[in-house]
């Protein structure tokens, strides 16, 4: 499933990141890499942005970009 399909409070493992170049690098430097676990903390009203927890960091990203990240729910 996709990161964008998680519900609030769900935890999952990142399986694949369908991005490349600068954007993928940015995700990595934020700690969003394959095999890491993420938790969906909150999303905004219109489901446009979400806040996730990876390791000890909290990161905000758009649903649009979350669709590029494949996860497996724990």
């Amino acid at each position: 499933m996709l990161l964008s399909e998680l519900k609030k409070g769900d935890e999952a493992i990142i399986k694949k990141i369908n991005a490349s170049g600068a954007f993928k690098n940015r995700l990595s430097s934020m700690g969003i890499v394959e095999k890491e676990s993420v938790k969906l903390e909150e999303y905004s009203l219109a489901k446009s942005t979400m806040e996730i927890k990876v390791a000890e960091s909290y990161v905000a990203l758009r649903f649009q970009e979350a669709k590029l990240i494949e996860v497996e729910k724990r």
Partner: protein, 704 residues
């Protein structure tokens, strides 16, 4: 005296600037929101080893916060360029002890540079509170460089850090390296062995050269291409890369090394860090449950902003009266000292009311700046960016545009610079174009004057809020228009850290607000002073001696005091209309007539191009009856109330809200946008919008 230069590097929000303050214990401005200024701080201290003591002079280069050494943002470009240069002796890597894994990812990149690195495990006090235990001895072993626990807020570990820096500096054997997976280490060893066999000498170490070649660093390839060794080296590299590809099951060498860094960082964390108590929720999460709640988040934000403007108006009004009285008395006193002649008039009618009108708003501005500084330093800005991104995105903006836009409520100059955090050129230009719609502190005097004149004291704060919000909404619509017609193209992805909430130290807030208030006063003392003199001159000259003497005769023969005053006022009115300023105003009038402006208002708009504060000081001079007039002065407010119709006043507010920001801001705009043509576009864009909106509002109010 020994000199050493230190590059202070770290990810954003790790307390770098506070640490500099703690090391240098000097008073310097912390927090560089423009993000590209590379600040330099000099510290001198004495350091002793077993043998002797010597004095050190340390220059600390504060690099902008970077998540990685990439070209993703301007901050990161600046940091990367500096780290790759030879302009320093040693890197101090500041690490957030509460967020070890992600921070160590950056540390890995720094270690790879081969420079001497000392790691400061900062905010160790917070880590303690969160139950995070770090074994810094073990971590030092794993990383191969000294790690020191520090806390800038509790000023602990600072001396140890200094000692570690000196020890590393003096130790020639002290090097840093990243340990890769065995299969990569093998390939590195092969290439290093080859260099050794060939007795190849280069100013960087064999290992680093080998890593750079394996990472396909283009600069290194260019450099090596001209070396005789190249022919033999090439097949070796090709074979090594093949081996790495097979092992990693990927040909993306950048990604392979990134994974290596990640494994290194994660491994280091797993070994050296322990979470003793599992706290269910920390402070930040508790607050975020409310502040970024999908239903409560935006209302709370709006309420906070409303509260800020309410405070700006009500709390700010208290000292304003005192400042007003002070300047009134100076105006009167100066006329007493310098007489009623030209000099007395210049000082009492020109300089004092002009400058006073601007200084008077200092309390309002300080409150607004404190509010903005709090927003910036507590970490709340990122939350708002998160909440608003969905909304902003629809208007062609980015959630991060919010930061320069809010800064724009204070002053457009830092706001234009803050827009540098936007990576995407289109989004950055759109943001630059609409920053002017966020009413800056300098427009506040105009609003306070008009709102005070036309609305009751109870409603004033809310009306003020309404003005700011309307401006912001205009800005959004303008952004959409620009997005559709001018700046089309791809959007920047939104990936943003949500930093922990931190209460900024009073010192930090004080420095930020103090420096901004100082520059405001400085402007009042220089620019506004000159402008006031100019306005005074243009409104008093050319003098029509014949007309004046003719009136003087009439005044002397006046039947009673009332007629005398009336005649005096008439003389002033005619002189003013015949002055340079009056003529300019009359020339401008046809353009502004459809908006309901009289010639005085037209002049004020014109002088306002120099600085928005001048709008008020111009009106002060133009509507004055000779005595000191300032906005809080009942005289000017009353005068405005009687001379300016309600509809014209509203239309005037709208125009001031939208049209071109001041001269200084326009210059910064040109620099940030990168071309003079954009200023011309901005002028056309804002003036047209301002004119049309004012026209519509004026007509609408007239009908109502």
């Amino acid at each position: 005296m020994q000199k050493l230069t230190i590059a202070l590097a770290g990810q954003p929000n790790v307390g770098k600037s506070s640490l500099i303050n703690a090391i240098s214990s000097s008073r310097l401005k912390v927090g560089n929101f423009s993000g590209v200024t590379v600040d330099k701080t000099e510290v001198t201290f004495k350091w002793c080893d077993e043998v002797s003591c010597s004095n050190y002079e340390m220059s600390i280069i504060d690099l902008p916060g970077a998540y990685s050494l990439s070209d993703y943002t301007i901050e990161e470009k600046v940091a990367k360029k500096f780290i790759q240069s030879d302009e320093y002796d040693l890197i101090v890597n500041v690490v957030d002890a509460t967020n070890l894994q992600r921070n160590l990812l950056f540390t890995a990149e720094l270690l790879e540079s081969g420079k001497k690195v000392v790691v400061a495990l900062n905010m160790i006090d917070e880590a303690d509170k969160e139950g995070i235990k770090i074994d810094e001895k073990l971590l030092s072993e794993i990383l191969g460089v000294t790690c020191i626990k520090t806390s800038a807020s509790e000023k602990s570990g600072i001396d140890e850090l200094k000692s570690a820096i000196i020890a590393a500096y003096k130790n020639d054997e002290y090097t840093s390296k990243v340990k890769y997976s065995d299969h990569i280490e093998e390939e590195i060893a092969k290439i290093v062995d080859f260099f050794k066999e060939k007795k190849y000498q280069k100013d960087i170490s064999h290992r680093i050269l080998a890593i750079k070649l394996l990472k396909e660093d283009s600069e290194t390839y260019k450099m090596m291409h001209d070396e005789p060794i190249w022919i033999e080296l090439l097949p070796l590299i090709r074979a090594s890369l093949e081996h790495i590809y097979i092992h990693s099951d990927s040909k993306d060498i950048e990604q392979i090394f990134r994974d290596e860094h990640f494994a290194f960082a994660k491994g280091a964390k797993m070994e050296a860090m322990e979470i003793s108590s599992m706290r269910a929720k920390n402070f930040t999460q508790k607050i975020d449950n409310i502040l970024i709640n999908k239903f409560l988040g935006i209302p709370i934000f709006l309420f906070l902003m409303w509260g800020l403007f309410q405070l700006t108006f009500t709390l700010g009004a208290i000292p304003v009266d005192m400042i007003d009285e002070f300047f009134t008395s100076i105006g009167v006193a100066s006329k007493g000292v310098f007489g009623e002649g030209v000099l007395g008039s210049l000082i009492g009618d020109g300089i004092v009311p002009g400058v006073g009108a601007v200084v008077m708003f200092l309390p309002n501005i300080i409150i607004l700046f404190i509010g903005i500084a709090l927003l910036e330093t507590t970490g709340y800005m990122s939350r708002v960016a998160f909440l608003l991104d969905g909304f902003f995105h629809r208007f062609g903006l980015h959630g991060k545009s919010f930061i320069p836009l809010v800064t724009g409520f204070g002053c457009s100059v830092p706001a234009y610079m803050a827009a540098r955090t936007l990576k995407n050129e289109q989004e950055r230009l759109i943001t630059l174009f609409i920053i002017g719609f966020m009413s800056c502190g300098a427009r506040l005097p105009v609003y306070v004057l008009f709102v005070g004149a036309f609305f009751s004291q109870e409603n004033a704060g809310s009306i003020l809020f309404l003005i700011y919000i309307t401006g912001a909404l205009f800005g959004l619509v303008a952004a959409k228009v620009l997005k559709i017609f001018v700046f089309k193209g791809e959007n920047e992805p939104f990936v943003m850290e949500m930093p922990k909430y931190r209460l900024p130290s009073l010192k930090l807030i004080w420095h930020t607000v103090y420096s901004q208030a100082k520059s405001y006063l400085k402007k009042a003392g220089t620019f506004i002073l000159a402008a006031s003199m100019l306005v005074w001159f243009a409104s008093n000259y050319p003098k029509d001696e014949a007309l004046t003497s003719q009136y003087q005769v009439q005044i002397e023969h006046a039947a009673n005091p009332e007629i005398e005053i009336e005649l005096q006022n008439e003389l002033k009115k005619i002189s003013l209309e015949n002055s340079y300023l009056g003529k300019t105003g009359h020339a401008l009038e046809p353009f502004f007539r459809p908006l309901g402006f009289d010639w005085k208002m037209s002049v004020a708009i014109g002088t306002g191009l120099a600085a928005k504060e001048v709008v008020v000081s111009t009106m002060g001079v133009l509507y004055s009856l000779g005595e000191d007039v300032t906005e809080e002065d009942q005289g000017l407010m009353e005068k405005i109330k009687t001379e300016i119709p309600f509809a014209s006043a509203i239309s005037f507010i709208v125009f001031v809200m939208i049209y071109l920001p001041c001269l200084a801001a326009s210059m910064v705009f040109v620099r940030e946008a990168g071309s003079w043509k954009y200023l011309w576009y901005l002028f056309l864009f804002t003036t047209t919008t301002a004119w049309i909106m004012s026209f519509l509002v004026y007509r609408a109010v007239l009908i109502l």
